[in-house]
């Protein structure tokens, strides 16, 4: 299933999700970057301030005390250091020595960097050059004014300080995501309520309506419950439907009246042909020889056959177009009726007919059409049968939402090469004088079965009988 096939509501939610997740992620990155930068500035500012403060203090012991206090409060390490320390406590470490050497050479007064120490932890290091002032010379003779005497070194535990910041940023990020997810959830519910559900309801109504139109039935308007786009869509559909069903109704009426007049206009001359032939036979038959009388009989039987053909064609054209009365139909009753109507032929042939016990009731079907199916198949099973005792078996299997029916015989069968041909209208496998018929029966059966959404097929072998299978839904759609 591609993205394109998703519902509009789902698409909308997906788009919103992408946007919100994007925005909140980008927001988190911005917040993190901003916080980190201001934190860096804050550390630098604090280090610089305390270093400059210390420089101002002249009493060395006071310097040590201030440094101690500061360290206690901030967690920083603040100390004095010198390249030639008098006090071993002021011995520089590797970094401090390097920075001070640089101070001496390039005259800079300040340096800072984030340094990873041997234990793998990162430290923010700040160094401020301590240059000899005039009043120092009294206590520290041997220095020149401005000469580098040492440095104030500030070491801030960078990892510890930034960890708190990272924790803060992470919680902001989590809060943002929770907000995002709940927003998406609310939007999802709203989009279902506002978009998907009304739209799906509309689609279902439209589909139902379309089926009714297709069957040429009286269609009611689908309900218009709002005046938004969905409501307007429903209104537009109703208008379209009305004009469509009107034109469909007119077209269907035109077809029906055409078919009716064809059947009448074609049959009126047939009545005359048959009528005058019979009149000729009745009034002048005794003056004709047997050949003449034979010709008249041929005219009469041809006229009658054409009448039957027209009727069958009329019937064929009405399947699926003209709706007959629908309702629950017991197939066992229908088969019973077919057998009664064929009783004469069944007795004459000494046929044995077995009907399964489990013949079901079909819902919402046209009884006459179901009768036509069984009647055509059962009379075919009798007709195309040379056996001294024709055997016919009618049965049914449950296939979930549909039934599979079968009509099995021990008749003459047919070559499976002609399987498709037998269901085509006016197609026959036998000569008229072998087996009478017009070649419409199975075409009618097939059309009825397919109108109900079923399938029909047969299995046979010449001389070994045939089995006709067809499926019908348990409950036919209207």
């Amino acid at each position: 299933m591609s993205l394109r096939d998703l519902g509009i509501g789902t698409k909308l939610i997906l788009a919103i999700t992408v946007v919100i997740v994007g925005i909140s992620s980008a927001g988190s990155v911005v917040i993190y970057t901003y916080q980190k930068r201001s934190l860096d500035e804050q550390i630098l500012e604090r280090s610089r301030t305390v270093a400059e403060l210390l420089i101002q203090i002249e009493d060395h012991r006071l310097i040590s005390r201030v440094a101690e206090e500061f360290n206690k409060v901030t967690g920083y390490t603040l100390k004095q250091t010198s390249l030639e320390p008098v006090n071993p406590r002021n011995m520089p470490d590797e970094f401090e020595a390097m920075v001070m050497r640089n101070f001496r050479e390039n005259g800079e007064t300040e340096y800072y960097a984030v340094v990873t120490s041997e234990d793998g932890r990162r430290y923010f290091r700040y160094m401020k050059a301590l240059r000899t002032k005039e009043n120092c010379i009294s206590c520290h003779p041997g220095y020149e004014v401005g000469e580098l005497r040492g440095s104030i070194s500030v070491v801030a535990p960078y990892d510890t300080i930034t960890a708190a910041m990272k924790r803060n940023t992470l919680s902001v990020l989590i809060i943002l995501q929770i907000l995002a997810i709940s927003t998406i959830g609310v939007l999802y519910i709203l989009s279902r309520k506002i978009v998907s559900e009304p739209l799906n309801r509309l689609i279902r109504e439209m589909e139902g309506s379309a089926r009714e139109i297709q069957r040429g039935e009286e269609v009611r308007d689908i309900p218009v419950s709002s005046r938004d786009e969905i409501g307007r869509l429903a209104t537009a559909f109703n208008n379209l439907r009305r004009s469509l069903s009107e034109s469909f109704r007119r077209k269907n009426e035109a077809i029906e009246s055409f078919v009716y007049s064809i059947s009448h206009d074609l049959k009126a001359p047939l009545r005359s042909i048959e009528g005058f032939s019979i009149a000729l036979m009745e009034d002048y038959g005794d003056r004709l020889n047997s050949e003449g009388r034979h010709y008249i009989n041929r005219i009469v039987s041809s006229a009658r056959k054409m009448g039957v053909l027209i009727d069958e064609l009329l019937e064929y054209s009405r399947i699926g177009r003209i709706n007959l009365q629908r309702g629950d139909v017991s197939t066992s009753e229908v088969v019973e009726l077919v057998l009664e109507d064929n009783l004469y032929e069944i007795n004459r042939r000494g046929a044995e007919v077995k009907v399964a016990e489990n013949m079901p009731v079909l819902k919402n079907v046209e009884k006459q059409r179901i009768y036509q199916i069984f009647s055509n198949l059962i009379s075919n099973a009798l007709k195309y049968n040379k056996s001294s005792t024709p055997e016919i078996e009618v049965g049914c299997m449950d296939q979930g939402d549909r039934y599979l029916f079968y009509v099995k015989d021990n008749g003459i069968g047919f070559d499976m090469r002609y399987h498709d041909k037998i269901f085509e209208i006016f197609q026959r496998l036998h000569r008229e004088d072998e087996y009478s018929g017009t070649g419409v029966g199975l075409a009618i059966v097939k059309k009825i079965v397919e109108t109900y959404g079923g399938r029909i097929w047969a299995e046979s072998e010449p001389g070994k009988g045939s089995t006709f299978y067809f499926t019908l839904p348990k409950e036919a759609e209207v």
Partner: protein
């Protein structure tokens, strides 16, 4: 029964020559001896009926009227018959190919006495025509006309 049957004339309004001949043949088979006037369209029917009103032709005791006629159609003929005091009691049997509900209603509204759809098969057609004649000439008691 035949003894009590009065000599009733029948007016047959029908445009199809075949149907006229087949109808006459069916009547002959019944052997009731009615004389038949034939009108081939609505205009001829109206002309004949005016002759009847003027006393120049004998009043028919039964009218078989086709609905679909060239020119003046059966409905108009029926309307004329049922609007004329000296004609309106004559039983009128509509004999037509139309199964249209509107046609049927219109005919009864105008006072048609019967409405019969012509069977398409020859045998049924013959049976129907014979039955019409037997019913309306023998079984039915007509009003005294003319």
């Amino acid at each position: 029964m035949k003894g009590v049957v009065r000599a009733i004339d029948i007016l047959l309004v029908e445009d199809s020559q075949d149907d006229i001949e087949l109808t006459l043949r069916a009547f002959r088979k019944n052997n009731l001896g009615n004389s038949i006037h034939i009108a081939r369209d609505g205009r001829e029917a109206l002309e004949f009926l005016k002759h009847v009103e003027e006393g120049r032709a004998q009043t028919p005791g039964l009218i078989l009227l086709d609905l679909k006629l060239p020119g003046v159609d059966g409905i108009e003929v029926l309307r004329y018959i049922k609007s004329r005091p000296s004609l309106r009691r004559i039983p009128v049997v509509m004999l037509t190919t139309s199964k249209n509900d509107r046609d049927i209603e219109t005919c009864y509204d105008l006072g048609a006495n019967s409405y019969i759809v012509k069977p398409v098969s020859f045998r049924e057609f013959m049976e129907t025509v014979k039955n019409i004649q037997l019913y309306w000439i023998v079984t039915n008691q007509p009003p005294v006309v003319g």
